[in-house]
C-alpha cells in the first residue's frame, strides 16, 4: 500500500558488497515536505542507502519506493542529487555544464533557469568561466545548482556543507530551507550535528548498516532521557573518581557532565557531591544530538 504522504519508503532493504554487509534490513519512511537528516559515522552505510534511493545501486533484498514509484531502475527526473564527492567537467564553462545537466533532467529552455539560479547564488558573472577556474566554494555552488535545476520533488544532499566557509554555508542553508518552503522533500547527510539540529524535522541515524535512531528531535532526545547532570564545584576542585549512581564523567569546559545510571539518581548524586564539597552549579541537561551520536558510536 503506497502512502501518498511518504516521499521515500525503504522496506527491509539490504545491500552487500562482496562479503561486507553495507546496509542490513533497513526500514525507513521519509515524509513529504520535510528536511530529513541522515547521520552516522563514516562507513556506516549512509551513501549506499542514498545511492539505493537514487537507484544507482539495486538492493539485494527489500524494496525501495521513491515518490510512489517502485518499478524499474531508471533514474528519476523528479529527484535531484548532490553527491559527497563533487564532480564537474573541469574544461567546460559553467553555463555549458549547467545546460548539459538541465537537459539531462528534461528542463525545457534551460538558459533562463540557469540565469535565475546563477543570480540567486550571486554567481551571475561566472557563466563563461571554466569549472577549473572556480574556487572550491564556487564550484560547490554550481554543483548545488546542478542538483536543484530541475526543481525536483525530492532532493538528496550528501554532505552539502563540507568545505564551505561560514558565509557560503549560510547561503546554502537558506537555499535548502527555501526548497522545503516550496514543498520539496530534502534528505541530507551531515557530520555537523549542530546544523542537523537546526535544520532537520526528522533525524535518522545508521550505524554499521543498521538503523539506530529514527524520529523527530524531541522524540529522539526524550528517548535518551534527562539523565545527564552538569555540575561545578565552588573552588573548581576535581570530582571524586567514582560517584555512586554515575556511569561516566565528561569534562565540558568549566563543567563536568555526569552520565547517571537513571533519572531517579539525581538527588542521590547531589547529596554525594555535597558531602565532598561546596556544589556551585547543578543542572539537568538534555543530551544534544552530538552527545547521542557520540554515545551510540562509542558502543
Amino acid at each position: 500500500m503506497i502512502d501518498n504522504n511518504i516521499a521515500v519508503h525503504l522496506d527491509g532493504v539490504r545491500k552487500i558488497f562482496g562479503s561486507q554487509i553495507a546496509v542490513d534490513n533497513l526500514d525507513l519512511a521519509v515524509p513529504k515536505g520535510t528536511i530529513f537528516g541522515f547521520i552516522g559515522p563514516n562507513g556506516s552505510g549512509k551513501t549506499t542507502t542514498m545511492r539505493m534511493i537514487l537507484r544507482i545501486y539495486k538492493p539485494d533484498a527489500g524494496q525501495v519506493t521513491v515518490l510512489g514509484d517502485t518499478v524499474g531502475d531508471v533514474a528519476d527526473d523528479r529527484v535531484g542529487y548532490l553527491p559527497e564527492e563533487r564532480g564537474l567537467y573541469r574544461r567546460m564553462t559553467v553555463r555549458r555544464v549547467l545546460r548539459y545537466f538541465a537537459r539531462l533532467k528534461g528542463v525545457k529552455r534551460p538558459d533562463a533557469v540557469i540565469t535565475e539560479h546563477l543570480e540567486r547564488m550571486g554567481a551571475q558573472d561566472w557563466g563563461n568561466k571554466k569549472i577549473e577556474q572556480l574556487s572550491k566554494g564556487m564550484a560547490q555552488k554550481i554543483q548545488f545548482i546542478v542538483a536543484v535545476i530541475s526543481k525536483p520533488q525530492l532532493i538528496i544532499l550528501d554532505e552539502p556543507f563540507s568545505g564551505l566557509d561560514p558565509v557560503n554555508m549560510e547561503m546554502l542553508r537558506d537555499a535548502v530551507l527555501e526548497l522545503k518552503k516550496n514543498g520539496t522533500t530534502v534528505i541530507f547527510s551531515t557530520h555537523d550535528m549542530e546544523m542537523a539540529e537546526k535544520m532537520c524535522d526528522r533525524v535518522f541515524m545508521i550505524y554499521k548498516g543498521k538503523k539506530v535512531l529514527d524520529g523527530t528531535l524531541d522524540e529522539i532526545k526524550s528517548g535518551y532521557g534527562a539523565n545527564v547532570l552538569r555540575v561545578r564545584m565552588a573552588d573548581g576542585s576535581p570530582l571524586p573518581e567514582t560517584i555512586p549512581g554515575v556511569n561516566d564523567q565528561i569534562q565540558s569546559g568549566r563543567f563536568v557532565d555526569l552520565q547517571l545510571e537513571s533519572e531517579s539518581m539525581r538527588s542521590t548524586v547531589l547529596r554525594n557531591l555535597a558531602a565532598v564539597g561546596d556544589v556551585e552549579h547543578f543542572e539537568t541537561v538534555r543530551p544534544s544530538l552530538h552527545d547521542i551520536f557520540v554515545r551510540i558510536a562509542r558502543i
Binding site: 558488497f17 531508471v74 533514474a75 529527484v79 564537474l88 567537467y89 573541469r90 539531462l104
Partner: protein, 456 residues
C-alpha cells in the same frame, strides 16, 4: 531517448571541438603517409658533400677507370646543379653507376678518389685509414685484390672490400660496384676474345611490365591501364586500410579519456543521478560513432581530392564504400566500448597502456602483414584474420580493396561475426563500466577488470 541524444551530443562536441582532436586529425595522416613525401626532401639536405675515398688497386688496372668515371660523374653533377636539370636517364646512369632507378631524387655527393700508398694494404695501413675514417678526414677506403681479374676466380668472385662507417647503405659503394663490374666485365671479355659491345647487345634486359587487367570501353574494345596504375593498385588498399585505422584510433582514444575523466573527477556519480549506466554508455557510443563518421568524411573527401588531382579515379573502389562504412562502424563500436570500459576502470592514463597494448597489437596486425595479405588475399592468414573480430575491420577492408575476388559470403559473414562480437563486447563492457564507475580504485589487469562482473 532524449537522454541518449543529450549525452551523445555532449560526447560528440567533447570529441571534435578540442584543439587536441584537431591537432591529431591533421598530424595523423602526416605521420602515416608524410614520410613518403618528406624523405626525398630530407635527403637533399644532407647531400652535396665531397667524399674522399682511398683506393688500393691490387690489379693496377682499375683505378684509372674509377678516377675517370668519378671525374665524369662529378662534372655532370656540378653542371646539373647549375642547370638544375639532373633528371635525364643518362645523368642517372652517370650518378648512380647503373640504369637502376632510385625511389627518389637526391643531391649527390662528389667523390674524390685517391690512390693508396701501396696497392696492397697491410694491417698497419688498414688501422691508420680506419682511424682517419673515424676522425672524419676520410670517407672510405677500398681494397681491390689482384684476383679480381683472374679468370680462375670468375666462378667464385674475389671480394672487394669497401670500408666506411655507413658501408651497408653507402651510395658510393653502390656506384663503385657498378663501375667496377662494368670495367671488369670488359677486361674479362677482351681476354676471352669476345666483343664487349656485342655481348652487351645480347644481354640487353627484357622488360616484363606489371600491368593491371584491361577494362572494356564503350565500343567494346579493351582499355589498357595507365602506367602507374600498378603502384596505385598496390598502395590504394593500404591507404584504405590506413584510413580505417585512423578513424578507429581517433574515435577510440577520446572514449578512454572520457571514461577516465568521469571516473576520476567523480562526475559519474552526478550523471548516475540522472541516467543509468546503460544510457550513459549508449549515449557516449552514439556520439562517438557520429564523430567517427565525421572523421571518415573529412579524410574521405581529402583522399578523394588527392586521388582526383592525380587522375587515379579509375582505380577507386567505389563499390567498397558500403562495406567500409559497415566495418568502420562496427570497428568503432567494438574498440570504443573496450576503451570506454578501460577508461572507467583506471585512474591514470599510464595504467591504460599495459591494458590496451595487446588490443592495439591485434588491431594493428593487418598493418604489419599487409603486403603478405595483399599478395594472397584469399590465403589462410588473411582469411583467418578477417574473421577474427579485433583484426577483422582492417583485414577485411584490405582484402576487399585488393581488387581480387573474395568469396561473396565472406564479407557479410565477417560482418555478422563482428556484429555479434561487438554486441557481446558492448554487453560485458556495459556491466564492467557500471561496476567500475563508482569505485575509487584502479584495475591494473584484465583479470581485475573482469572480476568486477561478479561484484555488481
Amino acid at each position: 531517448m532524449r537522454k541518449l541524444l543529450v549525452i551523445a551530443h555532449r560526447e560528440y562536441a567533447a570529441m571534435v571541438a578540442t584543439k587536441a582532436f584537431l591537432f591529431t586529425l591533421i598530424m595523423m595522416p602526416i605521420l602515416m603517409f608524410g614520410g613518403l613525401f618528406l624523405m626525398p626532401k630530407l635527403s637533399t639536405l644532407s647531400g652535396g658533400k665531397t667524399q674522399r675515398i682511398v683506393v688500393a688497386d691490387g690489379t693496377g688496372k682499375l683505378l684509372d677507370s674509377l678516377k675517370t668515371s668519378a671525374d665524369d660523374r662529378n662534372k655532370w653533377i656540378q653542371a646539373s646543379v647549375e642547370k638544375k636539370e639532373n633528371n635525364s636517364a643518362d645523368t642517372k646512369k652517370l650518378v648512380n653507376g647503373s640504369d637502376e632507378r632510385r625511389g627518389f631524387e637526391e643531391q649527390p655527393d662528389i667523390y674524390e678518389l685517391i690512390a693508396a700508398e701501396s696497392p696492397e694494404l697491410n694491417d698497419a695501413a688498414r688501422l691508420k685509414l680506419s682511424d682517419e675514417i673515424r676522425s672524419g678526414t676520410l670517407y672510405a677506403f677500398v681494397e681491390i685484390p689482384a684476383a679480381v681479374l683472374s679468370e680462375a676466380e670468375q666462378t667464385t668472385p674475389a671480394k672487394i672490400s669497401f670500408v666506411s662507417q655507413d658501408a651497408m647503405l653507402s651510395s658510393a659503394r653502390q656506384w663503385m660496384a657498378a663501375v667496377l663490374q662494368d670495367r671488369v666485365n670488359t677486361i674479362r671479355l677482351e681476354r676471352l676474345n669476345l666483343d664487349p659491345q656485342l655481348v652487351a647487345k645480347a644481354n640487353a634486359p627484357l622488360a616484363v611490365d606489371p600491368t593491371m587487367p584491361y577494362t572494356a570501353k564503350e565500343d567494346g574494345s579493351a582499355n589498357a591501364a595507365k602506367s602507374g596504375d600498378t603502384l596505385v593498385a598496390l598502395f590504394l588498399p593500404f591507404g584504405v586500410m590506413m584510413l580505417m585505422f585512423m578513424v578507429i584510433f581517433l574515435a577510440a582514444q577520446p572514449m578512454l579519456e572520457s571514461g577516465m575523466e568521469e571516473k576520476s573527477q567523480r562526475i559519474a556519480e552526478v550523471l548516475l543521478g540522472s541516467v543509468t549506466p546503460t544510457q550513459m554508455m549508449a549515449g557516449k557510443l552514439i556520439g562517438n560513432v557520429c564523430g567517427s563518421l565525421m572523421i571518415f568524411a573529412i579524410y574521405g573527401i581529402g583522399g578523394w581530392l588527392i586521388v582526383d588531382q592525380n587522375g587515379w579515379n579509375a582505380n577507386l573502389p567505389w563499390n567498397l564504400i558500403p562495406w567500409f562504412i559497415v566495418f568502420q562502424l562496427l570497428g568503432v563500436l567494438f574498440f570504443s566500448s573496450i576503451f570506454l570500459t578501460v577508461g572507467a576502470s583506471i585512474s591514470e592514463l599510464k595504467e591504460a597502456q599495459s591494458l590496451l597494448m595487446p588490443i592495439w597489437l591485434v588491431l594493428m596486425m593487418p598493418m604489419m602483414i599487409w603486403l603478405v595479405a595483399l599478395r594472397d588475399p584469399n590465403g589462410i592468414v588473411a582469411t583467418t584474420l578477417s574473421f577474427f573480430p579485433p583484426s577483422a575491420p582492417l583485414m577485411m577492408i584490405l582484402r576487399l580493396a585488393s581488387g581480387q575476388t573474395i568469396p561473396a559470403w565472406q564479407p557479410p559473414a565477417a560482418a555478422i561475426l563482428l556484429l555479434a562480437s561487438t554486441a557481446l563486447v558492448v554487453f560485458f563492457a556495459g556491466r564492467i563500466y557500471r561496476a567500475s564507475l563508482l569505485r575509487t580504485d584502479s584495475a591494473r589487469t584484465l583479470k581485475q577488470i573482469f572480476g568486477r562482473l561478479s561484484n555488481h
